[in-house]
């Protein structure tokens, strides 16, 4: 019974955090891209447009959900929710950190610790294609149909290199449980090189990491692989006909998928919640220092503001950052929060890479996309898998 | 420690695979390299085995690789064995084989189907080595058939020449008769001994009734006469000369045709316990020797001469085996391999020199054009004439001595035959190398790749006789029974040889019109001999023609067309009728098919259920 209660609590927390994060991820994306392109980005709603996501949500909810007359209603309505469902469900098996003990109850920072967690994630993500494909098809519109077809073909094609890239670190870890995988990467070689998969003996998995990231871009339909929604050829791809919350659902799905793949990459290749360098060398002080610097910057800009509002908002953020820094430095919570911090830091970095690349790269042509998957990525992944297996066999 | 005998035959086989599969693409250089090197390597491995195996007489090497056939108690393994006899054969086969491979590189240079030739040659080496190494009759038979196949392929090598292909067919078919005998022999062995392994058979043989052993031995002998061109199955060998000369040297002089002798020697235990069979062997050998020699007297085609001499020499070997001097037979086999290979290669060189001319009447005076060939051939001819100390002398003398001990009249016939041998071989020499050149074009010496092997073989046929004293080597296997040492035998046989040479010299060098007059004088006899006693014609009339006619009239018209076709057509008609009915079910509608399937499965399940389930 306790188990159920704890699970429900965790569910609530994770759902809340995740959905907020998804909403703000979009804000971050817009901001980052804006700054890459030397723009302001959202800045009207709230300080630095911090309330923009809220406004968006309200707008999307209150909008009229237009249902075009010629669509296949059932699938048209079902598709977006299928997509977001499939995207969110895979979060449930991802561990964020070590155990946490609260009021005498010890539980893992994870919804469900499945011993084939990775397979579950693969399975769910492989189901994710249906949302897009069905949406594209049900809209009964040639552009969206093409978008749906493209996305299904693309996702099937890129799932192979993805899985193969995942397989080779598994050969080293020897387990499918995400938690064990992360724990297998704890510790350091030569005292300072972390035992992450990308540095791991006998064969550093850097290649499979790159392959995984590339394939992940395709799986999440992100630029440079966002062919399904290529504005300039198919008006908006598979969600031409969608509006209001249904439209938002697709975006939620996309961001949730991004979070998922980033978490998986972190767990498999970047050593999960294990720090970049040993505690002995003060890796625990990274979080406070970073937050403290952030707070200091905020204070500084608050003292000589660029905009009138800043003199009130920025110091407030500064204080918040300072508090967080103090919290991070607070010894009792370190064992709980430090892994969480590292995990979130890595995931955040990968997400930033996603956004960064979107701001940087142009889009592939479709035949280039497929050719790349089958003629380059797949063979390289196979080769990498073979070499890894060979070396692992030799090492053992 | 294992000797890895399998390497010996496998090397030529690899050569065959390479040349046979890729040969068409490869340059001649590579092809010949592959072929020669593979054989040389296996020769090297034989040497390695010889040096490391220790005393083969005491403990022969036997290796079992895998079980080839197993049915009930009877199973045949793929095992090789090497004892002294095998070792001698191995050395002959691989050694001479390598020489002839090298020779062929030069000889076949301008021929079409270069890679084909070498592929066949390597394949032949594989089968021959298999035959020699085999540790049971079936494996031996495999090699036996294999060499037959290769001989067929190589005799018919010039596929565009009709005579060549017919000769190939003839060789193959005639051999079938012998192989038939061989297989019957094997069946008898299986029935009586329950196994085909040499070891068990020979161990059990002495206790068996003489009748059985005689039957087996005679059937084996039939096989041997087929392979080794003895009466009555010798007719294919002369025609086999249609093949390229190296082939004649390798297959039809040195190695394959001696397989029969080897097999009889290998089965010595069986033969020695079947006196009647032994007698038959001796007589067949003797008659063949004399008979072939007489034919050889009158041939004009140089290769035909050597072919008949081969037959007669094989006769000697069988004589040796028959009179119980197995080791002498093997000895002669070896020396014969030396000088007869040399003779053929020399003949090839001569033919090469005369631009493909084979008729001796259009040769002559080649002494100055092709000196090396001449001198080497001299060695060979002296050897075959049994002039001491050349190789042939020793072995032939051993055989003759043994035959004298066995029955004097055999010795006399043998000696006369020796004289004839000397005569016709030297007749060939004189007609080829002396006098004036009667052919066309300008004869020339052969390239080194051709006369090199000639030189080696010449050396062997000079010293090979007393260098390798086979009877002593094989003493442990075939003890030399101490015959009464009759001193004058040697002189007589040598004298016969000298007389033959002298007569030949007198007739073909001193006064050249003598042959004409003799021919005139004994015209009928001459034509008879010249046409090989019309044996081929006789066979045609008695065997071939009735067979063909019978099969055409009875088998083809009657059985095949009348009976079998009747059945086939009847079946066809019936099925058409049935199908006409069944066709109604084939609506071409997939779902109706599915329905039938469902009904069927329902019936099946019900039947199963009534049967009471699959398993408890």
């Amino acid at each position: 019974m306790v188990f159920f209660i704890i699970t429900i609590i965790k569910l609530a927390i994770i759902a809340f955090v995740l959905l907020t994060a998804l909403a703000y991820l979009q804000w971050v994306e817009r901001k980052v891209i804006a700054h890459v392109q030397v723009r302001m980005g959202p800045s009207r709603v709230g300080p630095h447009g911090l309330l923009q996501p809220l406004a968006d949500v309200i707008k999307l909810i209150t909008k009229e959900g237009v249902i075009p007359p010629h669509v296949n209603k059932f699938f048209y309505l079902g598709a977006p929710f299928l997509a977001v469902f499939m995207a969110l469900i895979s979060i449930s098996v991802i561990p964020f950190g070590t155990e946490v003990t609260l009021f005498g109850y010890t539980t893992k920072m994870q919804l469900a610790d499945v011993n084939v967690g990775l397979l579950v994630i693969l399975a769910v993500s492989s189901m994710g294609v249906y949302g897009i494909a069905l949406g594209g098809w049900a809209s009964n519109n040639k552009y969206s149909l093409l978008g749906g077809l493209r996305s299904s073909a693309q996702m099937i094609s890129y799932e192979l290199p993805l899985s193969l890239a995942l397989a080779s670190p598994l050969l080293i870890m020897g387990t499918l449980s995400l938690r064990e995988i992360a724990d297998a990467q704890s510790g350091f070689q030569l005292g300072f090189i972390p035992k992450w998969a990308i540095f791991s003996a006998p064969f550093p998995q850097i290649i499979s990491f790159l392959i995984f990231m590339i394939a992940a871009f395709a799986e999440t339909n992100r630029i440079p692989f966002d062919l399904p929604e290529a504005e300039n050829e198919l008006v908006a791809g598979f969600h031409v006909e969608y509006s209001s919350m249904k439209f938002a659902a697709f975006f939620m799905a996309e961001y949730a998928n991004m979070v998922t793949v980033c978490s998986v990459a972190t767990l498999l290749f970047l050593g999960g919640w294990h720090p970049l360098w040993p505690v002995a060398y003060g890796s625990n002080f990274v979080a406070p220092v970073v937050l403290f610097i952030a707070g200091a910057v905020c204070i500084y800009h608050g003292l000589n503001p660029a905009r009138p509002m800043d003199k009130y908002t920025l110091p407030a953020f500064g204080v918040i950052f300072f508090l967080l820094a103090a919290l991070m430095a607070f010894p009792p919570v370190i064992p709980v929060l430090m892994p969480l911090f590292w995990f979130l830091a890595k995931v955040g970095f990968l997400l930033f890479v996603f956004i960064w690349i979107r701001a940087t790269l142009p889009r592939f042509r479709y035949d280039q996309l497929m050719g790349f998957a089958w003629k380059f990525l797949f063979p390289v992944a196979v080769l990498n898998l073979l070499v890894t297996g060979f070396l692992v066999a030799l090492a053992s | 420690m294992t000797q890895n005998l399998w390497i010996i035959p496998i090397l030529p086989f690899l050569g065959f695979l390479v040349n046979g599969i890729f040969g068409r693409k490869l340059p001649k250089m590579i092809v010949s390299l592959v072929a020669v090197v593979s054989v040389l390597l296996s020769f090297g491995w034989v040497m390695k085995v010889y040096l490391t195996a220790g005393d083969l007489a005491a403990n022969p090497v036997t290796e079992h690789y895998f079980t080839w056939i197993r049915s009930g108690a009877f199973n045949v393994g793929w095992d090789y064995t090497v004892d002294k006899l095998t070792m001698i054969m191995l050395m002959i086969v691989t050694g001479i084989g390598s020489l002839i491979h090298i020779y062929s590189v030069g000889y076949m240079e301008h021929e079409g189907g270069y890679y084909r030739f070498f592929a066949y040659l390597n394949l032949f080496m594989f089968f021959m080595l298999n035959l020699v190494l085999a540790a049971n009759y079936l494996l031996l038979f495999l090699g036996w058939e294999g060499v037959g196949l290769c001989s067929y392929l190589l005799v018919g090598f010039y596929i565009v020449k009709h005579s060549a292909t017919t000769a190939g067919n003839k060789a193959f078919i005639v051999n079938r008769i012998g192989d038939f005998g061989f297989s019957l022999a094997m069946f008898l062995i299986v029935v009586n001994f329950g196994t085909l392994d040499f070891g068990h058979v020979f161990a059990a043989a002495p206790g068996r009734p003489t009748g059985t052993l005689t039957a087996i031995a005679l059937l084996l002998l039939l096989g041997a006469t087929g392979k080794s061109a003895q009466i009555p199955l010798y007719v294919w060998l002369p025609d086999a000369m249609e093949g390229p000369t190296p082939v004649s040297a390798l297959i039809h002089a040195a190695t394959m045709v001696t397989a029969g002798v080897y097999m009889c020697t290998r089965s010595a235990v069986i033969f020695t316990h079947a006196p009647a069979a032994m007698e038959t062997v001796a007589i067949i050998g003797l008659v063949t020797a004399a008979f072939a020699a007489t034919i050889g007297l009158a041939q004009n085609d140089i290769k035909k001469v050597y072919a008949y001499s081969t037959i007669s020499q094989l006769g000697y070997m069988f004589l040796g085996v028959g009179v119980g001097a197995f080791s002498a037979g093997i000895w002669h086999l070896m020396t014969h391999a030396f000088f007869k290979a040399l003779l053929f290669l020399g003949a090839g060189s001569v033919i090469h020199a005369c631009h493909g001319e084979q008729d001796m009447r259009h040769m002559g005076g080649l002494r100055k054009y092709a000196p090396i060939t001449f001198y080497t051939l001299c060695c060979a001819s002296l050897a075959i004439a049994g002039i001491p100390p050349f190789a042939g002398f020793w072995s032939k003398d051993a055989i003759l001595a043994a035959s004298y001990a066995h029955a004097p009249w055999m010795y006399w016939i043998g000696t006369i035959t020796a004289g004839m041998t000397a005569f016709y071989v030297w007749r060939a020499m004189f007609m080829t190398f002396f006098g004036e050149y009667r052919g066309h074009g300008h004869p020339h010496e052969s390239p080194v790749s051709m006369w090199g092997p000639l030189a080696v073989l010449a050396a062997l046929s000079v010293v090979g006789g007393f260098l390798f004293n086979v009877p002593k080597i094989l003493n442990s296997m075939f003890p030399i029974e101490e015959a009464a040492e009759v001193p004058w035998l040697v002189y007589v046989s040598v004298l016969a040889g000298v007389l033959g040479i002298g007569l030949a010299a007198y007739m073909y060098v001193v006064n050249l019109d003598l042959p004409e007059r003799i021919t005139k004088a004994i015209g009928g006899l001459y034509t008879l001999v010249y046409n090989k006693y019309f044996i081929d014609e006789v066979y045609d009339a008695t065997v071939v023609h009735p067979l063909v006619e019978g099969s055409r009239s009875v088998l083809w018209r009657g059985v095949d067309q009348g009976f079998i076709d009747g059945i086939v057509n009847g079946v066809g008609q019936e099925s058409k009728a049935v199908g006409g009915v069944l066709r109604l079910m084939q609506s071409g509608n997939i779902r109706s098919y599915a329905t039938w399937v469902v009904l069927g499965s329902v019936a099946l399940v019900i039947a199963l259920g009534i049967a009471g389930g699959v398993s408890r």
């Binding site: 579950v120 492989s126 | 389930g613």
Partner: protein, 167 residues
């Protein structure tokens, strides 16, 4: 508890299965089939075949059915029309034969396995990836290799068939 789960997913499976053949539009059938596969996967999971369950989702639902949906979209297959020649045989015998088969099957299953034992979920977790992989690469190595060859051939065949024109 076990009974509850079993009945739940069995009912889902059966309903979806009925839906597969009841729906007139192929894509509806396809999605219902995915439903069947999903519920079967859960049943596998309950039966202790974790790896096979996920494989079922990945391979069947994730790859094969995606192919189906893809093809359906590609050919833009509409709902099948009632018109067209109805196979008389199928009409008359189809359903009865079906019912017969089903009844007979049930009867015999009951008869052959009256008390073949009771499945307790979680009583056995033999289907872990380790076990599967182990016996796959030891006892069933040859079939495994053969199937891989089969897959290869299938890929080639599909490519050859699906090419625009065989040139």
């Amino acid at each position: 508890m076990d009974l509850f789960f079993f009945l739940l997913f069995a009912i889902i499976a059966v309903v979806c299965g009925v839906n597969v053949i009841a729906q007139r539009h192929p894509i509806s059938s396809a999605l219902s089939l995915i439903g069947v596969m999903g519920s079967l996967a859960v049943l596998y999971l309950l039966l202790g075949a974790a790896f096979i369950a996920t494989a079922q989702i990945i391979v069947y639902a994730g790859a094969v059915m995606v192919l189906f949906v893809f093809v359906i979209m590609l050919l833009n297959a509409g709902a099948e029309e009632r018109t067209g020649r109805r196979s008389l045989i199928a009409q008359i015998f189809g359903i009865p034969a079906l019912i017969g088969l089903l009844g007979v099957l049930c009867y015999f299953v009951q008869r052959w396995f009256p008390n073949a034992g009771v499945v307790n979920f979680d009583a056995w977790q033999g289907g872990s990836a380790q076990n599967i992989g182990y016996s796959l690469f030891t006892d069933y190595l040859l079939p495994f290799e053969v199937t891989s060859v089969l897959i290869l051939i299938a890929i080639l065949g599909a490519i050859v068939l699906a090419r625009k024109e065989l040139d």
